[in-house]
Each structure stands twice: as C-alpha cells, then as structure tokens.
C-alpha cells in the first residue's frame, strides 16, 4: 500500500527555510541562511525527535479510534485543547499541570525532564516577539 494512501500518516515537518513576510528569508530575525544548515539535519535523530510527540499522539489516537470509535479521540482532543489554553504568556514558565495529567506525563520521567530544562535555560525569550508570534501577528 503506497504511503500516501495510508490513513493517519504524519507529514514530517522538515527543516524548511525560515521565511518571514513576503515569502523572503527573514535575515533580521533568523540570521544568514545556507543550504547546508537548513536542508540537511545535523544529526540522524534530529527529525525523528522533533516529531516524536506528534507521531506518538497520532498512533495513540488512531488506536483509540479503532478500538472505541470516533468519539473517543475527538473527546480527548477537545480536552487537550481546553487544557492547553491554561498557561501564562509564552515567555514565562507555565506548569502545564492539567495538560500533563491528561497526557499521563505526570507519571513518567524522560530525557525531556532531565536534560535542557526550559526553567533553567540561560537565554530568555524576547517577550514582544514571542507574544506576536503566538497571536499570529508576525
């Protein structure tokens, strides 16, 4: 069965060029571009790790749909969407407690909790730019 006809296949969000307004490279915000930096992943695991959570969710929802019917993933996704809205502005640390409890992340520890903890990151996000990006104004 060809890949494109499989139900629930995830389009991989690749490493496309950083386009800003007018469809042109946004040098001010994302620096100079080079083909090598953008089209090739720097590590074999980079792409798969970037999409890992998406793929897992897709697999789980698809299983749930096959077992319990269409209503189950729909209800769950509605709950996730509601829980995802409980957060502070993007440049502040939010605990995502409701979302974690729904997803079951409160009962497991993985590398996301140990390495590169965002709460301890040395760089702070640009508040205005982040809020603009979140509201889709950028």
């Amino acid at each position: 069965m060809p890949l494109s006809q499989l139900k629930d296949s995830v389009p991989v969000t690749g490493m496309g060029p950083q386009v800003g307004a007018y469809g042109v490279q946004d040098t001010l915000r994302s620096g100079f571009s080079s083909v090598k930096n953008e089209l090739l992943p720097s590590h074999a695991l980079e792409l798969s790790e970037k999409n890992f959570q998406l793929n897992q969710d897709k697999i789980n929802f698809s299983n749930l749909r096959n077992i319990q019917g269409l209503h189950a993933p729909l209800k769950l996704q509605m709950e996730y969407r509601a829980a995802r809205q409980i957060q502070r502005l993007p440049f502040l640390q939010s605990s995502h407690l409701a979302l974690d409890t729904l997803k079951g992340n409160d009962e497991s520890i993985s590398f996301e909790d140990i390495l590169n903890d965002p709460a301890q990151s040395e760089m702070m996000g640009e508040p205005h730019v982040m809020v603009e990006y979140k509201l889709g104004m950028m």
Partner: protein
C-alpha cells in the same frame, strides 16, 4: 542559527538538543587533519552475564571501566538497581547505562506506586526496549536485566538498538564470548544456588582473564523471591601485589663525621589576623 530562532519565537523545549552537532562535525574534521584524536567516551568494555537457577536469578559482572586503552576505573559498579526485585547489568558507554537504568528505575517506581503492585521484569524490559529503539542505537547501552516477580524468575538481554531476548542464560559485553563458552559447557536447568554462583563466577573470570576490556573483581547479585544478595566484591580475582623487599636504609647506616648546630634568630615583623566568613 537555531538558538536565535527558537529563543525569538517559541519557548525552549526540554530533552536532547542537536545545536552543536554541526560544530562538532567540523571540529572533528579539523582535529583529524592535525593528527590528534577527540576525547573518547568512557566505556565499560565488559563481561556481564546472568543465569536462571531453581529459585531465582544470579547476575554477575566484572568491575573495569576503560577510556580507550586506559583503565579509567578499577572498581566500578556495573550491576544497577532497578527495583527491589529487579537488577540490571550494563555494558557499553558508562554514562548511557547509568542514566538509562536510573530513568527506567524512576519510571518503574512511579508505575508501581500507581498500580500498587510489585513491578514485573517484563515491564522493565518493555520500557527499556522502547526507549532504546526510539534513539536508534545512539544510546550505547547493552543490558542484562534479571529479576523475580509474581510469575517467577525472568532474565532478558537487551541490545543497544532495542532488540531483546528472553533466555535462561545470557552474556553481554566484549568478554561475552569467553563467558558464553563457560555457560554452554556447564549450564544445567534448575541448578542450586551455590552451583549457579560458582558458574557465574567462573564465567566472569573467563571474561576477565581472556579479554582486555574486562578486569579487576567479580560482582555477583543473587535475586530470589523476597531476598536480594548484592555481593560486591564476591571475588577479588586481581588483587594488587604487595612489595616483598624493603629498600629503605636503616638509620645510622651512614657514619656521621662532624656535626655543627647554628641557631637562626627570627623576629616577628608583622602579625595580621584574617577572619573567615563562616556564615
């Protein structure tokens, strides 16, 4: 470039960060051009093994950790705790085995608190293989997992790419062939505890004496229903030698011809007291 975009638009995510991979690749190319080597990770080129006997499991490991051709740790502990009834030996990159077993141990504890049951070895096996497969073998951890749960004793071997085998006797590491030779010769089903301990000790000793990557002492871990004996060290196969001769000269060997004592007058010029801040 990645740092700039991420910190500008979206909040940082946790987990592995691949920012420095390109820089590392460039550095490695430069360094090989100059003829040097980049520092290598500490490995536990190792002999680890496990065997199922009548009442439970015996796990065994050597205690040498290597860094290239140098012994980095003469007495490192390779049998890691996973849960009160499950232990895991680790071969491969030392940091990888250490962190992987700690993460799985934490997850298993949370899981057992949530189910209020003693954890099963199959659960630990499934968690380990799913994590190792996710990272496609880049986490270099080859493990021998053994324990006793409600269904009896179980022994698994887990490879870095995520495949597992459930067998009555397993060996892993650079000395695995030497240890497996001993097992293939002398393993019997339903052995007694003393026989099983002797067999594992001999298998690890075969790895220690025939493989350069394994050495020093032999650690054993005996797991039965309700009891765990962590024998570290079980057998010090490579004790450091004691010097037999003393080359120090006795006092008075050299004859004294003349002796003169000169007293030095020292006067106190300046005395300062510096208080230490111990708050």
């Amino acid at each position: 470039r990645k740092m700039a975009t991420l910190s500008v638009c979206q909040p940082q995510l946790g987990g592995f960060s691949f920012e420095n991979c390109k820089r590392n690749a460039v550095l490695e190319a430069e360094v090989t051009k100059l003829g040097c080597n980049i520092p290598s990770a500490r490995k536990t080129g190792t002999t680890i093994c496990g065997v199922v006997f009548k009442d439970g499991i015996v796990l065994g490991a050597d205690t040498r950790a290597t860094e290239g051709m140098i012994v980095a740790d003469k007495n490192c502990s390779k049998i890691h705790y996973i849960s009160p009834n499950i232990y895991c030996c680790g071969a491969g990159t030392a940091a990888d085995t250490e962190m992987t077993t700690q993460i799985i141990s934490s997850n298993l504890e949370l899981h057992s608190l949530s189910t209020s049951r003693l954890p099963r070895v199959a659960t630990a096996n499934r968690m380990l293989k799913q994590m190792l497969f996710r990272y496609q073998g880049h986490i270099g951890a080859a493990l021998v997992l053994g324990g006793v749960d409600c269904n009896g004793p179980h022994l698994y071997s887990i490879y870095p790419h995520g495949s597992t085998d459930k067998l009555p006797y397993v060996t892993m590491g650079s000395g695995s062939l030497a240890a497996m030779a001993v097992f293939e010769d002398r393993y019997k089903q339903d052995m007694e505890e003393e026989d099983a301990k002797r067999l594992v000790r001999d298998a690890i000793a075969a790895g220690i004496f025939n493989d350069l990557g394994s050495g020093s002492n032999i650690d054993l871990c005996v797991i039965t229903k309700g009891r765990v004996d962590y024998l570290r060290p079980h057998d010090m196969a490579n004790k450091k030698g004691v010097r037999t001769g003393n080359y120090k000269y006795k006092q008075g060997t050299t004859g004294v011809l003349t002796k003169s004592v000169i007293k030095l007058d020292l006067e106190v010029v300046e005395e300062t007291v510096q208080t230490m801040d111990t708050s």
